[in-house]
């Protein structure tokens, strides 16, 4: 018999054990709940970031894609294996036109992939964390592209890859629910054979992952497991080989990567496709995970670390570049022809760097004061170059275009920062491909706009953006039937139908397009004589050549204004005086724009041309101050002195002339 005292002790011990277990379970339960909720919390964060911070990026992806409610379009999609995926991917991509909606669909899709992965592979405890791998890799794939968006051949990749991953977890999910072995085998066989034309290589991942599940299941006899493995591998090898005769749109050796995104630049291929391939591999790895590992619970710390690493990986690979974001925002504003907004975006970016520029300058000055030789100075300057804000040429050209369209180019273009920062990109994407159609269209170089719309369509497929520009271009050149052809395509979209119908009204013969935007500001620029040209994919060089050619006989006031602007842009003194003469003759100028006065006072002091202009006192004073400043602050090197000078005279043409030199044009 137990004594009461001993009983009490035992009961206390039991009670203590019980309570400890309950507490542990409660903690485990609480942490389990937290980890179950974490994907949803992260998804909500992801959606917010996409919808409100990356909306321009998403809009460009949509602009470069196309989905038509048209049988011919549907049939065309099935000309490659994985056509169904491409079609549904394109269908969903169009919703990125409303970034909040498109990104919501995508985030939901990622969550579904996560959930189905958990279910398909019976993941529990720590192993549930593994289910975040495919979505994380898909996020990395889509958000690490950067300038790659302009060379993506597949237009559906944003959603198609996620849909592909989703499809890849369906066969394992299904085999778990089929009890008979023959049923399982039949499912794999059918999935491989039917799935390939519809889902491409994603179908193989699904089959393989289901086969791995069966192969790793020790409860199934070894012979059957081997049969499954052999059949699946044989089908994956044979189906593309046997069906190759049905297709004529790809190389046989590419059969096992059909459905994966592709790019038009070979050097990008691996970087672009790797995350998606890894997402598929991760599904295979999860399916190969033995049960005993899946069930084994580990401390929440492991799972927390796993999630943190995942978030960190997304953060690390997420393409973040201020110039790129600005370019995309300007791209969008130009497409909307919101010229004030284009300039405002540029100014905002410029302003946002004021503090960091000052900080970089202070830090650089401190370092330079310690430098002893020339090499050390150069090294410091090199190091700090990237800390200062410098726009890409695309940003500058977009900004200039907007200023030209608002008649402010001669007042404001040289009051903003200039430069030619390289794209933060694996390879430099030609400006003509990225922005050629916009620049050429709005500057009236119609045939070059046509060229780059078509080059883009040939290389990357027709997209909504290209169709819009081709429609406007055809309206501009009076090619009615051609305009209707493109508008007919846009009529079959959800988001451009209204735009297309508005454009169509211009073709009824009752409208004078010379009075309608945007044509009203383009037609006056089309007064030049024809010449043979080839831009070699360098839009800025082409624009310089174009506007610095001898003045056309029928030059309009608008053309003279733009030609003068480009003469100033290339810092040609002779060109400036010549173009100024034409500008003043053809334009009714009451007050000389600021930059013209500054250029004239500067050029007159450099090379007396005997052209006397009346300068405002403000400009004269400014130039005097500039000269005195030069005397008191001799320029050692442009790189070293640019910043302090820019703080004093950065908004003047004097600064532009002396400090913005030898820019690389693209």
């Amino acid at each position: 018999m137990l004594s009461l005292g001993r009983f009490n002790t035992h009961a206390r011990a039991l009670y203590f054990d019980y309570m400890t277990t309950v507490n542990i379970k409660r903690r485990v339960f609480q942490s389990d709940n937290l980890f179950r909720l974490l994907p949803y919390i992260l998804s909500a964060i992801l959606w917010s970031v996409l919808a409100f911070s990356e909306h321009y990026y998403l809009k460009v992806i949509e602009d470069r894609s196309l989905f038509l409610f048209d049988i011919q379009f549907v049939m065309e999609s099935f000309k490659v294996p994985g056509g169904f995926l491409g079609l549904t991917g394109s269908f969903l991509t169009q919703f990125l036109h409303l970034p909040w909606l498109g990104s919501l669909f995508w985030v939901i899709l990622l969550l579904v992939i996560y959930q189905l992965t958990v279910r398909a592979f019976n993941l529990s405890g720590w192993s549930m964390s593994l289910a975040v791998l495919p979505p994380v890799l898909l996020i990395i794939g889509n958000m690490s592209l950067g300038y790659g968006v302009f060379i993506m051949r597949a237009q559906d990749y944003f959603f198609a890859t996620a849909l592909g991953c989703l499809s890849a977890v369906i066969p394992p999910l299904a085999v778990n629910r089929i009890s008979s072995f023959s049923g399982k085998l039949l499912l794999i066989a059918l999935w491989t054979a039917i799935g390939f034309p519809l889902l491409g290589t994603f179908a193989f991942t699904g089959s393989l992952s289901a086969a791995i599940l069966i192969f790793c299941n020790r409860e199934i006899p070894a012979q059957r497991r081997l049969i499954t493995a052999a059949t699946t591998i044989a089908l994956i090898v044979l189906v593309p080989l046997l069906t190759y005769g049905l297709w004529t749109s790809y190389r046989m050796t590419d059969s096992w990567r059909m459905g994966l995104p592709s790019v038009s630049e070979e050097s990008w291929t691996r970087a672009v496709t790797a995350p998606y391939q890894l997402a598929l591999i991760s599904i295979l790895v999860i399916s190969a995970l033995p049960h005993r590992f899946k069930d084994k619970d580990t401390s929440p710390v492991f799972r927390a670390v796993f999630f943190i690493i995942s978030v960190a990986a997304v953060w690390l690979f997420w393409f973040r570049n201020e110039n790129f974001r600005t370019e995309l925002a300007m791209y969008d504003a130009i497409d909307r022809m919101d010229w004030e907004q284009v300039t405002a975006i540029y100014r905002k970016t410029e302003k946002s760097h004021a503090r960091s520029d000052a900080k970089a300058y202070a830090s650089r000055t401190a370092k330079l004061s310690e430098a002893t030789d020339k090499d050390a100075i150069e090294a410091i300057l090199d190091k700090y170059d990237k800390h200062f804000f410098e726009p890409t040429r695309t940003m500058v050209l977009y900004r200039d275009l907007a200023l030209v369209k608002t008649d402010k180019a001669l007042d404001e273009a040289f009051s903003m920062k200039d430069g030619s920062r390289l794209q933060k990109s694996r390879t430099q994407i030609p400006m003509a491909l990225q922005s050629g159609k916009q620049l050429y269209f709005h500057y009236g170089l119609t045939n070059l706009c046509y060229r780059w719309c078509f080059e883009d369509a040939v290389e990357h497929g027709w997209n909504a953006g290209t169709l819009r520009y081709m429609s406007m271009l055809s309206i501009l050149t009076g090619e009615r039937n051609l305009a209707i052809k493109y508008l007919n395509r846009l009529d079959k979209t959800i988001f451009y139908r209204k735009w297309s119908r508005q454009c169509r009204t211009l073709l009824d013969g009752t409208h004078d397009i010379s009075k309608i935007a945007p044509y009203d500001r383009i037609l006056p620029l089309m007064c030049f004589e024809d010449n043979m040209t080839n831009d070699m994919a360098k839009s800025e060089s082409q624009l310089i050549r174009h506007f610095t050619r001898p003045r056309p006989a029928g030059a309009t006031p608008q053309f003279d204004m733009v030609a003068l602007f480009w003469a100033m842009r290339i810092q040609s003194i002779d060109g400036f005086w010549e173009r100024l003469y034409y500008y003043l003759n053809s334009n009714q100028v009451k007050t000389l724009p600021r930059s013209i006065q500054e250029a004239a006072i500067l050029y007159n002091s450099l090379e007396r041309h005997g052209v006397e202009l009346s300068y405002s006192k403000e400009i004269s004073d400014s130039y005097d101050r500039f000269r005195k400043y030069v005397e008191s602050h001799p320029v050692r090197t442009i790189r070293e002195s640019a910043y302090p000078y820019s703080r004093q005279f950065g908004k003047t043409f004097f600064y532009y002339y002396y400090f913005i030199r030898d820019l690389q044009t693209y």
């Binding site: 070979e266 170089l445 045939n447 070059l448 078509f454 080059e455 040939v458 051609l482 030049f528 043979m532």
Partner: protein
């Protein structure tokens, strides 16, 4: 249930009955249809001439009637069942009546006719290409059965090229409309001239040290195993604002002869002051027709630029050159037609199979008329030397590449008349008086196809039979075979 089903069936059948309305208002004009198939002459073995009624109405009804059949079709798109069409085409004329209904009132347009005439070669082939400038990511040479709507890819560059190693394909050509002897060029990646000689595949490189390029525009000798080619150093440039967006010009061009049996290349014409191009044989193979432009400029680094500056002044005349195929001996070239005198330029001479007519395209300047909106088709009568622009054949837009059917009764040609940018294929019938009928677009299953399709068709060629070698075999052959060089041999002259 059965009663309901029968009632539903009767209702459906009644609803679908397509009798012409008894009460209507007559409209004194033919309806606008697309493609324009009003009052045309078609081959008796052509696929159904589907069209759409290009005007708005609440309801449409089309009645096609001939002595051998009648069919009524509802709807804006008039897609004629093949069996019904075949019945209709047994008679020489089909009358098409179009009725439209607006606000409950039927209107009857003036009927138009479709005349049924000579049989046509059952197959054509063409290249599918976007009207782009430099990029050629997706190109294919396709074969179309004109008696149906079936189309297949003969070869597509996507089957061989890789991302950065593109392949351009062009100039498919057949000997005497048969496909056992055919050729096309694959340029750049794994390139060469791909030939099927009596069904055997070959891949050759026709560039020799003595010629300026590999073979370009081909003309297979009708009786002997020769192919005449032009050799061209071709460049393209863009007009900054001209409606003719592109200019394609030769920096140099000559003519060569490839001897298939002896596997050798010899020169036909290589005058450095002449741009000889577009060879075409007479049906007996004893005369080679070609065009040539006289042009002199220094052979230096500025030549290419100079050529584009002078491009509006470079004009091609029509020549012929006698040839003895047995001895492979050439006679002196003869100037046949000199349009340059009147500031015009002729290209693409093609002789009718009866040897009587030579069709060519003519524009104010240049050689690559697909980019010249002014380009029209002209005909030269080789018997009496008369030259004329066939009435009703041309349009304000481009008419360019043309090909005679094997019996010379039909001509297929490429034109951009529909929208000014996308090349479409049109057929015209030649009657016994050498008049050409109103041209019409080759029929498509979906009549709105030409409006929707975002590619051009070019280089239409007639074939009597389908290509037997599959695209897969061709791709595999091109991938696995290096182009074998062809030795140069001396030209033989009288």
């Amino acid at each position: 249930m059965r009663k309901i089903a029968i009632s539903a069936l009767i209702l459906i059948l009644t609803a679908c009955s397509s009798k012409a309305p008894s009460a209507f208002t007559k409209v004194d004009k033919v309806p606008t249809v697309f493609p324009d198939y009003t009052n045309i002459t078609v081959p008796c073995n052509i696929a159904p001439m589907n069209f759409l009624i290009d005007q708005e109405a609440d309801r449409y009804l089309t009645v096609l009637e001939s002595e051998s059949g009648k069919v009524s079709i509802k709807g804006k798109k008039v897609c004629i069942p093949r069996s019904k069409w075949q019945a209709l085409t047994r008679s020489p004329q089909i009358t098409v009546s179009v009725y439209t209904r607006n606000k409950g009132q039927w209107s009857a347009y003036s009927p138009f006719s479709i005349n049924v005439s000579d049989e046509i070669d059952p197959f054509i082939s063409y290249r599918i290409i976007m009207p782009s400038v430099e990029c050629y990511e997706r190109l294919s040479i396709n074969e179309r059965d004109l008696t149906s709507f079936s189309e297949k890819v003969i070869y597509s560059n996507e089957m061989v090229q890789v991302t950065d190693k593109g392949q351009c394909i062009n100039c498919h050509h057949y000997r005497n409309y048969g496909t056992d002897n055919m050729q096309f060029h694959a340029r750049q990646y794994m390139g060469g001239t791909i030939m099927s000689v009596d069904g055997q595949l070959r891949k050759i490189n026709l560039k020799t040290d003595s010629t300026i390029s590999a073979g370009v525009y081909p003309a297979w000798h009708p009786t002997h195993d020769y192919i005449a080619y032009s050799t061209n150093k071709t460049h393209q440039s863009i007009h900054s604002i001209d409606p003719n967006r592109m200019e394609v010009a030769d920096e140099e061009s000559d003519l060569i002869l490839y001897d298939i049996r002896n596997n050798s290349v010899s020169v036909i014409e290589n005058d450095s002051a002449e741009f000889e191009c577009f060879p075409a044989w007479s049906p007996d193979g004893r005369m080679l027709y070609y065009v040539s432009a006289h042009y002199i400029a220094p052979f230096d680094s500025k030549r290419k630029e100079q050529i584009f500056l002078d491009s509006r002044e470079i004009r091609y005349d029509l020549y012929c050159k006698p040839f003895d195929p047995d001895t492979r001996t050439w006679g002196k070239p003869v100037l046949l037609f000199e349009p340059s005198e009147s500031e015009r330029s002729a290209t693409l001479p093609r002789v009718s199979p009866d040897g009587k007519l030579l069709m060519f395209s003519m524009a104010p300047y240049g050689v690559f008329h697909i980019w010249h909106r002014e380009s029209d088709l002209w005909v030269l009568n080789l018997e009496d030397g008369s030259i004329w622009k066939p009435e009703g054949l041309n349009s304000p837009e481009v008419e360019s590449y043309h090909s005679w059917s094997s019996d010379g009764k039909w001509v297929i040609f490429s034109t951009r008349r529909e929208d000014g940018a996308y090349t479409r294929l049109y057929l015209t019938h030649r009657d016994e008086n050498d008049r050409f009928s109103k041209p019409f677009a080759i029929p498509q299953k979906d009549p709105s196809f030409n409006r929707e399709f975002m590619y051009s068709f070019n280089i239409p060629e007639f074939m009597k039979e389908p290509v037997r070698v599959s695209a897969r075999v061709l791709a595999s052959f091109i991938r696995s075979t290096e182009a074998s060089p062809v030795p140069y041999s001396q030209k033989r002259e009288e």
